[in-house]
Amino acid sequence: MLAFILRRLMQSVLVLLSVALIAFAMFRFVGDPVNQLVSLDTPAEQVRQIRESLGLDDPVIVQFLRYVANAAQMEFGISYQFRQPVTTLLAERAPATLELAFVSALFSLLVGIPMGVYTALRRDGVLARVFQAVSLVGVSLPTFLIGILLIYLFAVTLGWLPSFGRGETVKISGSWSTGLLTWSGLKALVLPAVTLGLFQMTLIMRLVRAEMLEVLRTDYIKFARARGLSTRAVHFGHALKNTLVPVITIAGLQLGSIIAFAIITETVFQWPGMGVLFLKAVQNVDIPIMAAYLVMISALFVVINLAVDLLYAMVDPRLRATLKGA
């Protein structure tokens, strides 16, 4: 088990280093970092000093190592557009994105799993067919179109929910301000969370359905039925439990893409999160923010991946056995 963890850790570090290399290459070679900091009439001597103070004359490998060391301390330089440290900018916006991602992941699991179970058990039911059709449409509709549709329906026409912003936020401990504790904050969260989670929800529903159908065909389910267990115990105690193992993996991996897809949802709902910041950086060629976002997202992916792998090993007894043997 320890060897497995160590090997996975090594792989994760390698992935992170290669992403850092890309981020560094962007930072260093796409546009001159000095040009962004000085104006046209800055004396040449001063430009040279800035170059030196930034260490841009050192060998590239030294610069890369410095970049990695700084990144490890969450230090990504100064944003070209805002003239503020990138870390501060990201930290200000992180709570909004993380809350949104968490709530939509929760939504997709809490709705997707029951829908998947239902469509698997009542395969030919009318409602199951409706769910299936809706899920196909859900996969085909781009996220931003779903967002616009929901805004038109629930904000413009019905006026039930706000269409933009986070509502009132409450500051808890340091820089974390949450929208989960106020009524308007919760109301503002509904539409973006549903928009963001809908794709994942359909994905989870289809996955649960497929896995469940597979499991229901296995011998131990037949045996459980033959033992005279109640249908409920067979379905939920035996079948669902075994279905959930792959679902954990996919759901975990999807958490990363939820955060990435938040870029679109945040734009539609003018949600003040990291995604909008990143998009502005792409539009204005603000390389430090782009590089920092890339590193952060990949770190997140790697951590989630690692956690999922370990969780997998803990949940699946067969895997645990092979790991012990290895």
Binding site: P142, Y152, V156, G256, F261, I264, V285, S298
Partner: protein, 320 residues
């Protein structure tokens, strides 16, 4: 036994080789296509929309890219059948006075062009790298597949956004209108290649140990010839399914990039750009600017996805 011992009657009535058309009509895949009404409907929708896009200049009542044909006075006119509608504009007009029906036709053209271009670029990159990785093996294989693994952890839209930002930064000085097509195709191509590379590599690994490859090598054929003429035709099958499904994805990606404001500008609108324009006017009740392009986009992607689903099931021998 000699060759001349062949039975005489067969020689008298030589069996004509079945024409391509008959072979197609007798194939399993045609049969499965004909027995699924939903698939036929989807194919019809895809074909109709693609033809409409192709013949946009004939079908449209104006060229929305030509400023001389657009009048600001006509801005934000609702569809013909609703109150305040104009005889000329069946689906109404957008904020610059462009006829939406024409703009959708031209926009679909742009969306399709970029989507197909991006998918073909992705397939070319992916197939090439997959063939090389599978056939050459060793360190080359390891490097290509590690890059693929790293990229696979990022959603395509994020990769496309990053490439878009970096390329535009590198091409500073050239007006955006001139580069945006190429950049969009490039970002889509570079975001979707991984799936092709993995699929092709997997089947190449199987094929390269078969006798015909060994024979080709013994005859002294060069590596590129073996890879392209002999292995490629045998591993290309599964790519067809990925290709179909990716077309829908690529069109969504292009629309999303345009919606986010890093894709096509408002002067050369794709479906995504039109939706993005419409989104600004949604609150003033001008629903049609977003509704018609959005519906067209969704319809097309849904139809392509249905075709892709069907193709995957039809080509999968395990499901037969």
């Amino acid at each position: 036994m000699t060759v001349s011992a062949a039975p005489a009657p067969a020689a008298a009535t030589p069996v004509k080789p079945a024409s391509l058309l008959t072979r197609m009509r007798d194939s399993d895949i045609w049969h499965s296509f004909r027995s699924s009404p939903l698939t036929m409907l989807a194919a019809f929708v895809v074909l109709a929309l693609a033809l409409a896009a192709l013949f946009a200049p004939v079908l449209a009542i104006m060229n929305p890219f030509d400023p001389a044909q657009v009048f600001l006075m006509d801005a934000n006119i609702p569809p013909r059948w609703s109150e305040g509608g104009d005889e000329r504009f069946i689906f109404g007009t957008d904020d610059q006075g462009r006829d939406l029906y024409s703009a959708i036709l031209y926009g679909m053209r742009v969306s399709l062009m970029i989507g197909l271009g991006g998918v073909f670029l992705a397939a070319t990159i992916g197939i090439t790298l997959g063939l090389v990785a599978g056939y050459v093996g060793g360190r080359t294989d390891a490097i290509i597949m590690r890059v693929a693994d790293v990229q696979l952890t990022f959603p395509a839209i994020l990769v496309a956004l990053l490439i878009d930002g970096v390329v535009h930064a590198l091409l500073k000085g050239i007006p955006r209108e001139q580069t945006v097509f190429g950049v969009l195709i490039l970002s889509i191509g570079l975001s979707f290649w991984v799936q092709y590379a993995r699929t092709i590599r997997g089947s190449t690994l199987v094929e390269k140990n078969k006798d015909y490859v060994q024979a080709a090598r013994l005859v002294g054929m060069s590596t590129p010839v073996i890879m392209l003429r002999h292995i490629l035709p045998n591993v290309i099958g599964p790519v067809l399914v990925i290709l179909t499904i990716n077309i829908g994805l690529a069109i969504i990606t292009e629309a999303t990039l345009s919606f986010l404001g890093v894709g096509l500008p408002a002067t050369q609108p794709s479906l995504g750009t039109l939706i993005s324009i419409g989104n600004k006017y949604l609150f003033s009740g001008d629903w049609w600017i977003v509704a018609f392009p959005g519906f067209t986009l969704a319809l097309f992607v849904l139809a392509v996805n249905l075709l892709g689903d069907w193709l995957r099931d039809a080509l999968n021998p395990r499901l037969r």
